[in-house]
Amino acid sequence: MTITEDAPGHVGSRRLRKEDPALLTGEAKFIDDLALPGAIWVGVVRSSEAHANIVGIDGSAALEIDGVNEVLSGEDLAPLWGEGALPCAWPVTPDMKNPAHLPVARGTAKYVGDAVAVVLADSRYAAADGAAAVVVDYEPLPAVVEIEDAVADGAPLVHADLESNECYTWGLWGDNAPAIEAAFAEAAHVVSERYLQQRLIPAPMEPRGCAAVPSPAGGELTLYSATQIPHILKVMTAVVLGIPENKLRVVAPSVGGGFGCKLNVYAEEILCSALAMQRGAPVRWTEGRAEAAVSTIQGRGQVQHIELAADADGKVTAVRVKLLADMGAYLQLVTPGVPLLGGFLYHGCYDIPNYMFECTSVFTNRTPTDAYRGAGRPEATYAVERAMDSLAVSVGVSPEEIRARNFIGADAFPYESAAGLVFDSGDYQTVLDKAVALADIDGRRAEQAQRRASGSSKRIGVGFSSYVEMCGLAPSRVLASLDYGAGGWEAATVRISPTCKVQVVTGSTPHGQGHETCWSMIVADQLGVDPDDVEVLHSDTAVSPTGLDTYGSRSLAVGGTAVYMATEKVIDKARAIAAHQLEASEDDLEFSGGVFRVRGTPEAEVPLAGIAFAAFTAHDLPDGMEPNLEAHVTYDPPNFTFPNGTHIAVVEVDTDTGDVDLIDYVAVDDCGVQINPLVVEGQVHGGILQGAAQALYEDAVYNSDGQLVSANLGDYLVPSAAEAPRFRLDSHATPSPTNPMGVKGVGEAGTIAAAPAVINAVVDALRDLGVTDVDMPASPQTVWRAIADAQGGAS
């Protein structure tokens, strides 16, 4: 049975979400909603300096505040974790530098926001007052702020005990170097570009928070956290603090968005856990928004050099990429791996035979970076899609034509890329053609020409972005080859109760993605039950003990597949019971609509409900069969999945002010078979706006002293409804052969595609003025300066 043949079912329908009522009425409980009478509130004192020796910490003023009970320095707290440090799970090279990252710094603060002391108080207000009243005496040290400065001669060292600021260099070229040299030597067109990926602040609407609740009599600890990864957090907390795993439970309550920044093991989670164990009382912390800007990981932060070699027709023969990536001051959970996730994809969705990628990652005196929606793949897509537009100009063809000449053909799948991946399925040209038709490209270009001819200051630009990404993270053996510290499988359990209600336990950890609805739809179609009769349990290690959580658009392709396979196992068992009851061979049974029937003998049938009850009573089961209908599956995917698409942005640029207005946005995505198009579209909408926000608005701006000057939502421009365009979507499904449902994943697609589409559109609008590149974010000032510079430096 495959899911697509089972129509008319729930899969493929725009079913409304079962998650909604609790969220719409305020009933859902987020981390700060938990009532914990008597809890100790933690306030974190954070470094105001980018790099400084901590000379002294004076808590006397703080201790005068009513409700403030203790002020503790990193030295005071050190016994809580001993040699334990915050974990980095991805040592990408054997010689990677990974300086010990303590939850609270000792001796030296390495970035603005680095925790240097904590206040323990009776209330949230006292904790905040106390943290503000602690006086820290700093001896400032020279700071490294910008990426390229970190590798300059004589650069100050972020970590004095290291020889340089280099964390690692990782490359992907095999024995390809001579072929690449030859391709560039013989090229008719060479494109060589340098792009900047500014740092971004993930800014889920819910800041982080955690609460550690001990049960002192038995020595257990429950850690509640606004996290994407309760399972990984549990293992890591156990390892860092030496808490036996069987004494530890981690719960993610309702989580208000993550986008990668809650895929981590943070200082406050370790701190609250350790203090709760020590004090025998609940310890809690809730992050403030300005605090989040420096204490939660940031995204991106790369300087990219990309070169394309192409023949006279614009067929690309080689791509060569060198990155400098900003790790920040320390390595968080997967910080060093983020550039690698893009490192396989700098050839985009093009058939390019020669590939070379090299990344040098560096330490700076800034907040650590880590995975942010797309994690490496938006950066890769940006570089290759911007460079392809430059190539189109060099060859003298349209953006859509240069893409058409280079696409991996629909008949080439499974396609082995020069970077060593095997792409599962796709029809990139059809996807692009659909996008072109939807966007009315001819009409837009006519308008563009008319405005240029009339000398209008309101220029029109059309920008393309064709992308492919690797999702469904990940085959465990591939992760091993990349030195990742865990597997990539996912677990599921499916149980049918005596009254034929279905319980699904998933190792995925939703925080807005709609897993309860979608997993219910999958299982309901398989079993012939109503989705409302399916409950989906998740995000609590006491309920769902086995899992690897939600990130990298993996939940459906890996976690959903595990659910599907566990349900199939349950059906297999039910079939054996049905055959026993009907005195028929299992091979003669068919199962549809929740009923087993003997083929050719329609009156011989038994409903699943009857089998569920029989499995429960166990009065008359086949010899040797265990009672109950239940199955567990741990699914390790054989390959990644490769969602793809073409997005087209249309912008209006005011050449007098530099203001960019996103006036149309068309997206055609191939995320494989869609379980719920309503949910898919929602993911695409939100993803696009996050990508467009990188292109136009968002920037974690640091001054030369290493101070973050865009730390709150007044200065860091998360777009509102007023900036957002209306998105026009279409799709084209090439089912993935990697998994039985043919699904691929869609959580990051919009973000991966959008930034290059928007910047390509801005550059397209201004190309006749001599503009060839505009840095992100394309703020009015940046655009205005790009125009002025192109017009002869009139600024």
Partner: protein, 156 residues
């Protein structure tokens, strides 16, 4: 401590608060109404939006004492007693106008206030009217459509 009397979702509530207690914390911590969320420190995100005497207000930027004597409506108070969702909540559900749901209570309260104050809004009016409420998940399109539908002025 200062005595404050609020009528919250139709019920009169008396409480003692520090003068600097924000309305949102009085609602959340003193009255246990945790549906109203806090998303920023700077009045930027609107997650904490409630109705104060029928008008939307950001409860993180208002002291509880300023609301003394006022009629407050929070997200817990807009559905019917039998659980029937308010038309705005229902429209958000039907248009998939929420994902993680953290901005949702504030967004719904702001939208209820907006369509009440400005009947007949078009799409642009809704977009500008909700400028003070940020959502990171939805890209706003489904929120805008939900508000237009609830306002009876169109939407898909």
């Amino acid at each position: 401590m200062t005595a404050v009397t609020l009528t919250v979702n139709g019920t009169e509530r008396s409480l003692d608060v520090e003068p600097r207690t924000l309305l949102v914390h009085a609602l959340r911590d003193d009255l246990g109404l945790t549906g109203t969320n806090v998303g920023c420190d700077s009045s930027s995100c609107g997650a904490c939006t409630v109705l104060v005497d029928g008008q939307s207000a950001k409860s993180c930027t208002m002291f509880a004492v300023q609301a003394d004597g006022a009629d407050i409506t929070t997200i817990e108070g807009v559905a019917d007693a039998d659980g029937t969702l308010h038309p705005m909540q229902q429209a958000f559900h039907e248009h998939h106008a929420l994902q993680c749901g953290y901005c949702t209570p504030g967004m719904v309260m702001a939208a209820i206030s907006l369509v009440e104050e400005y009947p007949g809004l078009d799409e642009g009016g809704v977009r500008h009217g909700l400028e003070g409420n940020l959502c990171r998940c939805t890209g706003y399109q489904n929120i805008v459509d939900a508000v237009l539908a609830a306002a009876g002025s169109g939407g898909d």
